[in-house]
Symmetry: D2
């Protein structure tokens, strides 16, 4: 009987364990992927440290992944209406069980706030099965939305972008960039890097990345940043630099992707009067920040928006965008190194200590080669 | 030779003085109004205490006013294209000298941030002439935008709404209320009262006014509030009340019109996930507030907008709206009492100690009667 | 064994037949309503004449209905999260089987264009069961979205508004009315009457209804129209009238709710430069119209939007809006007469010959009384 | 005494004349440009044939131009706040005298519909002075908005884009392109070519140009079109091609830039359900077109917008965009040939017979060289 190895967080702050799982029987409408790639991102570090609430440990981490369909039960189609077949290389929306029947889904039109939604690699327990990407196989529950990795898209490009690319697309959509507008991106982690790339592809004018890690700034320049500011500069100097690039006015748009509460206040300083700020970096609770309503909100005539999670739409379009522009932007190089599943603890450590922007786990290499 | 009496703030924190001004000679395109009404609002209290920067004391306060055209030089028209004539009862946009030639006016399309703009009753010095409403006459510089008080609009209604009505319209426009949506209004001063009235006229569902003064809440109910919360309740109880009115979700819209920094944080608590917050109460610096980006912005998926000043458009439409709906909403009663110019210090004191929502100064009553 | 009588369109242009249906067995998640009210609208006339494509005759007409839950299998909840119980008076979204898994549902965010959607009373065959409202009972398939008729909402008010109210809310949302804006409504049928009512509740300024039937115009005035234009006036005279009401500019908003192709051209004439036109009256093919791109589109700087169907959101909010404002607007009187099921052919004839704005069928009166 | 030669349209359908104009005396705030470049576009062809109403012949054509400031009276600044100096190379907004005091300017916020606006090269008579670009010198009336051609922008690039670039930016802004969306551009003249370039810079996915002239399609491919359709294909085949590129759905966006009424109907066919159409090609009256409200508007759930003229904002940002992206898109090559002023009739003929996308007149070459 076939079995699969998966990496498991048994409980917060405990070492990763490797456990064997039997191949599951498929329900109607379900499928099994042989994993090719899964990612290691900041959320996994938070999960390891128990910083998210409501996580049903033990869990198999890994929310965005790519795999080959090994088995499926019944006829399955993508949202595009294309048939799915065994052997197809696909990725899937990690968010599942959005109910489609609650106020958030149907009246407020914001399924990212649906109370029923579950997330592969985060809110499914390992007791429920192979429901995370750090595993040789992933169980696609009936209704999970798979989509093909098209020929013109390398798997390395898409997994390099990963969940950060999808979140970045949501934030960039929210910012409504127009041709030639200036934008600052606070935080050059996986989300910030993709914000830089997508802003650049959107025809932004100045695209400034701000971070404290020199290699991240260098990578942001490859992604399309026209300028970078090092956090080693005092905050007031960053403001001066910002004004010097924008005829004294500040940026048309600032996107906060750092998770640092102070960055929200800095975003409100860096944006021009009447500009737009999107906050997408605070997925966990990193504390609070002092805001000055008169100077930073009212008088600024500013628009500030919080951006939580992503809709299927962002995931779908992220695949299309990476397919079309993957040759122009080095998503494939964003993960400094590719790790074996056995070595996933090192990948996690590299992300935790910021020696890598992000990390990627590669599995079943023979299967990828045959496709 | 004719002269006019005006009330003057000679310098911050000094008693009001009454000074005589000679009737000015009119430049081409200018006019002279005999004042009928001017208002006393919170900004005048701030001006009296020197809390606004860049004010060229001595000044004649009074920004929104109504008068009769006593003289004019040349042919003048309203924005509607109607001719202005001596004897017409008009009001005028207090903001003047917006340049129409700078980045804010022409590229960012936000003339409220034009650095050239000046405001009657605030940023003109008494040395420059009769450029404030607490005066028997007001000098209309060439290009000041006058508009008729139509027959169906009582002067008491429009001056009762006053600058708060115009600001409220800007904020309500920004909130994009849709039929049946719920709204909370923090602060039931002149702006908040008009927000309540305009939200009610817009077909909002629940309209909740929140304030610490019982008479203000009672007046808000007359303006259309479906519920009122007293600040005597603990903040957490206000949140509980809010949820009980909104199926546990919070308000679709919250408009902050209090000037209290804490109200910005409370607005973010009271609004539902994905809702909209407009901050229009912080026209002066009342300090800062602690905000929690994870819980109050990012995870809330919220939109928050600062609303600074008003455009001519809001003033123009405010006259139309007050004309049409003045019979339905008691703007005319918002000013508890009407004061003589000689008694304007009492009016100011009443506003300062919150014994009145706002106050109105009445002048030249004989002239109003003859029209 | 219980059976129920239903009115059936056996095929296009054939007389209505009355057929008996056995009480269906309930699938898990299903329910059975004893019908209290169903409506007769223009779509039913089109169905009777075979003017819609893809209709699986024989059908039981009647898309918007109200009933009492007679039986249910399993625990059911509304979108608000409230439990549904036997004896509850409810209405339900006639559109069902929107898939939630296609490009229209998930990427384009326009479920009204989902190719899987089916509609009670229109696209279900009578062979499939009691899936239309002209019947003593209606079968609620699993997942059909029921919602309570709240105590403060009379059933007569909601059925009076009916499908026209829901469509009108969609169109009015699309038009983004702001306080004081002027609006013309072309066509004073069930949709147009509710557009008038909702525009009035939204704080529109001039609300002008245009139709050729005098009683409809009189009713529109009760709904909140500030003016009415009779089609007996020449089109050029209507334009002159329009300009005289709008300082020569035309309406800020025009909503076409007539189904007459010429009305689309007239809407483009009546709207002001830069105004908004919503076309919601062309649910069937009534032919084409000559449009002049230079004068009517490009130079007008106009926005024109087509409005197809409704989302659950509009239905949900329509119930809330009718609950809150049902006392202010005479939706309950919109159906001139209430018919017995046996007399539904007369109801249909009254709608077809325009002697009534709409008609309502009343069933099971004893059941309504006991609730 | 200095005099300048200008080309003049004496009246409709008459040959161009060359007339001498004395150097004008400068009013305060005025300036005189020595022209370096002016353009010849389709509007000039219409002017030559008398197809625009209200043109005060004789006129000096040429609306978008570049020149060197030869003289100025008083201190002048750009909208950016930069000082203007003699010897500076500038361009200027051809639209002047927008009043800033009418309903269109101040309430509707659409200065392109201001009844006072005048346009250099179109609505000023040659009797009023050097108010068109086909002239050795152009008189800058007080208040005309000049802006520097920055060092990184070649004059050839900006004049190559010319008025079509500014119009295209307005249309592309209106279309609200999001990353990866598909767009079709009907008409590959000067406006259409810039729409293609700007859509490509905005990160559009498929960018399809449709025209009947093969060289225009080839040039569109250089501008960034991913596909081109020749009008030699039947309209139904173009629809088939369109669907094959868009998973059967049609384009997210269609921009009509052809001036052909039929193109408006085709745009409504080519766009997907719920997509956006912008009509910017109908600056003159080319007749009407049959539209089918049911199929093309209502059921399509489509948004269609007319785009008239441009605001200063578009002109300002067009300079910035051409500066930043002029190296990526061959605007400088769009004008097939550069003509001497003496040869402007040949330039006009080339545009009229479509042997060139557009043409450029070059003047005072010595002056350009010394700068």
């Amino acid at each position: 009987m076939t079995s699969y190895t998966a990496a498991v967080f048994p409980r917060p702050n405990a070492p990763i364990e490797f456990r064997e799982f039997r191949e599951p029987e498929l329900e109607p409408g379900a499928a099994l992927l042989h994993t090719l790639y899964s990612e290691v991102c900041g959320t996994d570090v938070h999960l390891h440290h128990g910083k998210l609430s409501g996580v049903p440990y033990p869990i198999i981490p890994g929310h965005v992944s790519i795999g080959v369909i090994a088995k499926m039960r019944g006829k399955l189609k993508t949202v595009n209406g294309d048939n799915l077949r065994e052997g197809d290389v696909v990725t899937f929306l990690d968010v599942h069980e959005t109910c489609g029947a609650c106020y958030q889904c149907l009246v407020a039109d914001q399924p990212t706030r649906c109370p029923s939604r579950k997330v592969y690699g985060i809110t499914y327990s390992a007791h429920e099965g192979l429901l995370g990407g750090w595993s040789e196989a992933i169980y696609m529950k009936p209704g999970v939305k798979m989509i093909h990795i098209p020929k013109e898209l390398s798997a390395e490009t898409f997994i390099g972008g990963g969940c950060g690319l999808v979140t970045a697309l949501h934030a960039v959509d929210m910012s409504r960039i127009r041709l030639g507008e200036s934008i600052a991106v606070l935080g050059a982690g996986p989300v910030g890097q993709s914000v830089v790339a997508l802003a650049s592809l959107s025809g932004a004018g100045e695209v400034v990345a701000i971070d404290g890690v020199q290699q991240r700034l260098a990578f942001a320049a490859q992604m399309g940043a026209t300028n970078t500011f090092d956090l080693a500069h005092a905050r007031v100097d960053r403001l001066t630099l910002a004004r010097s690039l924008t005829s004294g006015r500040g940026f048309d748009i600032v996107i906060e992707a750092s998770g640092n509460p102070d960055a929200v206040s800095e975003a409100l300083d860096l944006v021009r009067d009447g500009g737009r700020v999107v906050v997408c970096g605070h997925y966990t609770d990193n504390g609070s920040v002092d805001i000055h309503p008169h100077w930073q909100i009212n008088r600024k005539h500013v628009e500030l928006r919080g951006c939580w999670g992503s809709r299927y739409e962002h995931f779908h379009r992220a695949v299309e965008i990476a397919s079309r522009f993957g040759g122009e932007k080095p998503w494939a190089q964003m993960a400094g190194r590719t790790y074996e599943l056995a070595d996933v603890a090192s990948a996690l450590a590299a992300v935790a200590n910021r020696s890598a922007v992000k990390a990627v786990v590669r599995l079943n290499p023979a299967k990828a080669d045959t496709d």
